[in-house]
Symmetry: C2
Subunit: 683 residues, 2 copies
């Protein structure tokens, strides 16, 4: 360990005013009721549960990971929710991550009762450790392109798993690099020489005692990544490996062992549903993911002082809090607004998904008829539309928008912390790096926009054929646009919030009808329209987020739970969020005649400035309401108490493992040090 | 080491067509003369020099770092340029980085001949290893706010260096964490209780033999960072440390040892010049920084195949090259264009700087009079303007724009590689992470925009007062705008390249005059205008980059050195670059009436699509022209020969140090593994 600091160093304090004084001052300037807002956002049950889990974790070092976590879970008899909450507090991927999520979930959802007994029960006890092996070295988004085969052998009623090419290597598989001894392998099912598409198989890959790979299986770790290095990602190859018939997960599709005939899935919609659920969760989590960065940046920018304002009268001493500069506010506060917007949108998405699942389990799925009118936002789905298709499109477009927003926003927050944002002690860098895969997985954010636009184009065609009447769905939006587009819009976006939402709806309709014209009338190729489609889908997601935020504020439950000051402040966040996207995509609003050039200019300058000014005094309390404990943030810059510089120095001088090393700096003596590691070479 | 692959694994090949075939096909589809273009960009001398250095480095492992590099440099008698070229091929920060750059440079430029003998000569021999200690824990951009003091002691003619607060810690200092035994310390000079502002002092900080810190000096490494972890960054504290009078670097300002009086700098403009030089180099390097990412993404997207186009007739087999999708082209090709734009702009900047240095050394500095008309672009400077102020503003605005573009662009390239972009073997992640500090250092990119706009506002005021007549400077642009703004612009941006450049000029003038009105007429506060100022400065940088690219293509040397096919292709890159920024900032072009809404729509859709289509077949050759050797790229995805999957598998299975470890995966046995490292726990 590094040697203790000498007394003259210990005696040093930061120059005043102290960070703790500044944050105290921030909190005293605002009357926002933090606990009330937090309770409204998360419920008091969840807040209490998190506090309880934190109390258990806190005595442990931050890396109370993987095994320790599982041990604590058993010891305290945690439910799945409590285990998840602990995982979120630890906030980093662990080698059991994919076992606890995808492996168990796939066995649960796709296994028969017999398979549950055989695989799921030991997996739940951690007697076997599993992973989910779908992606291949040469095949990501396009599941139908997978090369690994599972060929049925009628003679001995087995499947042969085989990797015909190097591009068929299973690759990127989380928990496979070192931890897993079993895998759910997605492979092309081959019966009598004919392919029936990708299906899931349970395969043991390592010996349960020695942990060595089984014969004809080649498995290892894929090596270092940009982030996610606390998780092992592996590769996997098969050389004609035989597995029993029971290892094909058969709840939906199956092979009849007697005849070797393929049994078609009873209800493909359920599989569709899982993806929608995962995307809904990504939307919900994107809000808190971003909020962590915003919390750190906001607190640090309130503690950090730099320069004087150029208009400061001569003779004034001291520097300004960085958060007082409008350029800094303009970078951070729209992200604060976005974190709330994504939270409310995510919550509505998850509720919608749950409502639909319940309805499906009552057998009312796929075409729910008049019943659908009772479903909660983001779209009141009209009676002739396909509810699942709607949900799918909404979840795709919001997943792409929300995760892009969170990833981009985290980097903005990191830079807003200036030079120190680059330090590991900022707590943003590794958080950002670990989050980045989210923009690629569960549907690449660009790929998804094609599916969304396909749905919007289809809906627009139905509207034009005169078949849709429900005014509250996106079809209603299209219908309204179709009726009014020659008359024009004239939305009062500056002073009327409903009009602001309507302007976003108008823009989606405009862009969709333009795209439809290019495709159906001008017969342009699909490929030539991909950029337009991406714009349409993004506009749709922004409309949904703006509308959901607005709807959440109109909700009776909201006005009943929050005092009027808080509701008013949330309204300002809503406006800032909407203006931010309105002005960032100004040309689409002009071109569609949703707004005038002058309106955009005013939204960008006067109105945005005045919102920043109104929100600024409450910024610290607004991030406090996210209730991230310091233990979770693990950030010197984002400390609740503002003791930023003390913490940075502490981390550097007392807990920095590099500082017990002395090297020989001269070129003609041995190695100086190597990437990321320093070699001891004491003179 | 990992065990060798079994034979059945060795026999596997990627499914066809092979990456090598696809890249061969790409190269045969285009007639672009790669060597001719490369020679034009870099000169044949530089290309030969780089090839020679590469030959020396190549037999070494990629981490032929720091000491090894210095040893090779001595062995082969490298010049400074050759040493720099080697550093660029190695492409990562090393512990001598700041010794070889900032420490030597500061001693050279700010030392007297006596100080050169005392400090510079041993430093050049690496007998002492130094760093440049300016930034403090609580003070970054605002140098005047530094807290470290250097107090003159008349009695014994020494200075006392002292750190009065924790915020006065020197922090982030490159090479200080482990390597340096000397530092140039920037401290507030105090004479008779009065502060004379920050000045540079040479201070020995570690023992030359034991490398232990000297008494009353506290120095160590600041700990891990988001990137740059191959460089040691340190902190440094002084407890009343005395240094002799000779240790204050005194070429410009000095303290007279006899009287203790302050001697003012002879020519502050020269210091100004160094910063301008560093920023010019950042602009030039931003082009090649970005080009590395674009090279990797372009080659990999030509090798990677995914899905079929939706319009593909049924029955067609095989997937499309990803580079054929317009959405991918739209993400990568404007960055390819930007890499060229930044290269040409950077080259013009560096030439301009050199021309000015030469003029200054001939004593014609500061107000160069009629002579300035002979200076090469980016601005023909008119006779009454301050040449250095112009250069300063140009370098500030371009530094901010260029480094933001390169950093953002690298991340776009990484994502365009899909999931594999996240792997360390993509070669983009660590390159991006190491580059990121560039947006913050040498002037934070947001802070700089204030200085640029101050200059533009001042120039606009001069124009309005009727004092400027030179039609080629930015003043001329303002004058033209002032004359014509009531008549309107009507630029033919779609079909006339000069009009396209003029539209960018018009927009800068419009935004500057708007800002001027807010500040001078409406008397708005400086702080309230910061966001507007940032827009003005960004618009100015884009104008300069567009204009410089265009000017470079008009240059006689260009048309003499390149065949017409190449010039034509570069023209398309110029147009794509300009359209990209025109459509991304569409509302500023509408609002200023530089273009119509319809023009923007056409630029965004038809014109951009047709440019993408025209450039697409030459994309691989256009990145080849940057001439990055595979050894430098260190990327499986970006290999010149297209053997992407073979290389990824090779890195994972044969050179991955993690794969010689076996762990015990069960929760109740010892540790699984920790962040980034795996613990051996063989069963």
């Amino acid at each position: 360990m590094p040697s203790p600091n000498p007394d003259w160093v210990k005696a040093l304090k930061p120059s005043g005013p102290q960070g703790s004084e500044l944050l105290q001052q921030e909190r005293s300037r605002s009357a926002l009721n933090v606990d009330q807002l937090a309770t409204f956002m998360f419920t008091s049950e969840v807040l209490k549960r998190n506090a309880k889990i934190l109390e258990i974790l806190q005595p442990h070092d931050k890396p109370a990971r993987a095994k320790a976590l599982r041990q604590l879970s058993v010891k305290h008899g945690w439910s799945q929710e409590e285990y998840n909450a602990a995982n979120e507090l630890i906030s980093e991927p662990t080698p059991y991550g994919l076992h606890a999520s995808m492996f168990l979930k796939t066995l649960e959802e796709q296994g028969t009762p017999e398979q549950h007994k055989l695989f799921l029960e030991p997996a739940r006890r951690y007697d076997i450790i599993g992973c989910y092996a779908q992606t291949e070295l040469g095949h990501g988004s396009n599941v139908r392109g997978l090369e690994t085969t599972a060929t049925w052998n009628a003679a001995d009623k087995t499947f042969t798993l085989h990797s015909p090419h190097l591009t068929a290597l299973k690759w990127w598989i989380g928990s496979l690099g070192l931890a897993a001894n079993h895998a759910v392998v997605v492979a092309q099912l081959i019966l009598n020489g004919k392919s029936y598409g990708p299906h899931p198989f349970v395969v043991q890959i390592r010996d349960l005692r020695t942990h060595e790979p089984l014969p004809n299986i080649h498995v290892d770790d894929i090596g270092p990544k940009f982030g996610y290095n606390t998780m092992d990602n592996g590769f996997l190859l098969f050389n004609n490996v035989q597995i029993p018939h029971i290892n094909m997960l058969s709840r939906f599709s199956a092979v009849d062992p007697a005849t070797g005939k393929y049994v078609r899935p009873a209800n493909p919609a359920l599989i569709y549903g899982t993806l929608t659920y995962i995307r809904s969760m990504i939307v919900l989590q994107s809000g808190s993911t971003l909020a962590r960065g915003v919390t750190i940046a906001t607190r640090y920018c309130a503690v950090r002082r730099q320069f004087q304002d150029r208009d400061t009268p001569e003779g004034m001493v001291g520097e300004n809090q960085v958060l007082d500069y409008t350029m800094v506010q303009y970078r951070i506060l729209p992200l604060l607004a976005a974190s709330y917007a994504l939270h409310f949108t995510g919550r509505i998405m998850v509720n919608l998904y749950n409502a639909n699942q319940e309805r499906m389990s009552q057998g009312q799925n796929v075409r729910p008829g008049a019943d659908a009118k009772r479903s909660p936002g983001p779209e009141q789905l009209n009676s002739t539309s396909d509810l699942l298709a709607d949900l799918h499109a909404v979840s795709c477009s919001l997943k792409a928008f929300a995760s892009t927003t969170a990833a981009k926003g985290l980097e903005v927050c990191r830079r807003a912390c200036g030079g120190h944002g680059y330090s590991a002690s900022s707590g943003i860098g590794s958080w950002y790096a670990d989050y980045l895969p989210t923009v690629t997985w569960e549907g690449d954010n660009y790929m998804l926009t094609q599916q969304v636009t396909r749905y919007l184009l289809k809906t627009a065609r139905t509207v034009l054929s005169g078949k849709i009447t429900d005014a509250n769905s996106i079809a209603g939006v299209f219908q309204n646009f179709d009726r009014r587009q020659d008359i024009g819009a004239a939305f009062d976006v500056l002073d009327n919030d409903q009009d602001l939402v309507d302007a976003f709806a108008w823009r989606v309709a405009f862009l969709t009808f333009e795209a439809l014209k290019h495709r159906d009338e001008e017969k342009q190729s699909w490929n030539n329209l991909l950029v337009d489609f991406w714009r349409v889908s993004t506009a749709y997601a922004q409309y949904l987020a703006v509308k959901n935020f607005y709807d959440a504020l109109q909700d009776k439950n909201t006005t009943a739970s929050l005092d009027s000051t808080t509701v008013e402040l949330l309204h300002k966040l809503f406006q800032l969020f909407a203006f931010y996207h309105l002005t960032s995509n100004a040309s689409e609003f002009f071109a569609s005649a949703a707004t005038t050039v002058r309106q955009i200019q005013l939204a960008r300058t006067k109105r945005t400035l005045s919102l920043l000014q109104d929100i600024r005094p409450h910024a610290v309390r607004l991030v406090d309401a996210w209730k991230f404990p310091d233990w979770q943030l693990d950030s010197a810059l984002g400390r609740y108490d503002g003791k930023v510089y003390e913490d940075m120095f502490h981390r550097a001088s007392l807990v920095n493992p590099l500082n017990d090393e002395i090297i020989d700096p001269y070129p003609n003596s041995p190695v100086l040090f190597r990437a990321g590691k320093k070699t001891k070479a004491k003179l």
